[in-house]
Amino acid sequence: MVPSQYYLVLSAAVFCIGLFGILTRRNALVFLMSVELMLNAANINLVAFSVQNGNLTGQVFSLFTIATAAAEVAVGIGIILVLYRNFNDVDVTTATTMRW
């Protein structure tokens, strides 16, 4: 059995890869994919520590986060669609009509 702290490091790596994608990429769809990565990092944690703690709370809650991520992506793609129809581009940096 792999010690549980290595699952923590794995989920931290996935989380930071997602964060890297959010900070450096400009495409809105890639941004959404990176958010999905971060949500799945939490799922890794939840399932790993469900075994560690001996109860099923983590596994059941990870089902809920998966469903929430799906719903969030649905609304997000709706917003990106509206963005594309208005600005003809899915780049998150083109939409800057409102200034400081």
């Binding site: 702290q5 923590l8 450096t24 109860n55 809920f64 469903a67 609304v75 669609l81």
Partner: protein, 119 residues
């Protein structure tokens, strides 16, 4: 003709250093954590216990109860559906099959819609 994807290196990667720094900090904190031996689950079906837990019943394996979260998820999926459809719908009243792909361009440049052709 297609070209293979190229890795674009440049100064736009600088904010990513924050993510790398965060990983270093988190890994340092996590690797120093000592966990006891994993308790594992007893005998019993995990899937059945998950089902029991979602409906506030106690199954073979202990868990907290999640009925309220389950009901809220149902409402959340409805809300996401309403929001997504409201945003994505196209006005124009030509029906769901009237996207930009269903028009044919004739030889003289005029655009022919589905309703005008006699298929």
């Amino acid at each position: 003709m297609t070209t293979r994807p190229r890795l674009k290196l440049g100064s736009h990667l600088l904010p990513g250093l924050a993510a790398v720094a965060l990983f270093v900090v988190m890994a340092a904190a996590f690797l120093s954590a000592q966990f006891p031996a994993p308790q594992g689950f007893g005998s019993g079906s995990i899937t059945a216990s998950i089902g029991y837990a979602i409906f506030d019943l106690s199954g073979p394996i202990t868990s907290e109860y999640f009925l309220v979260a389950f009901e809220i998820m149902g409402v959340l999926l409805v809300a996401a559906l309403v929001g997504a459809v409201m945003l994505a719908r196209e006005e124009g009243g030509l029906g769901p099959l009237s996207g930009s792909g269903s028009r044919d361009v004739r030889a003289d440049g005029a655009i022919e819609t589905e309703t005008e052709s006699d298929h």
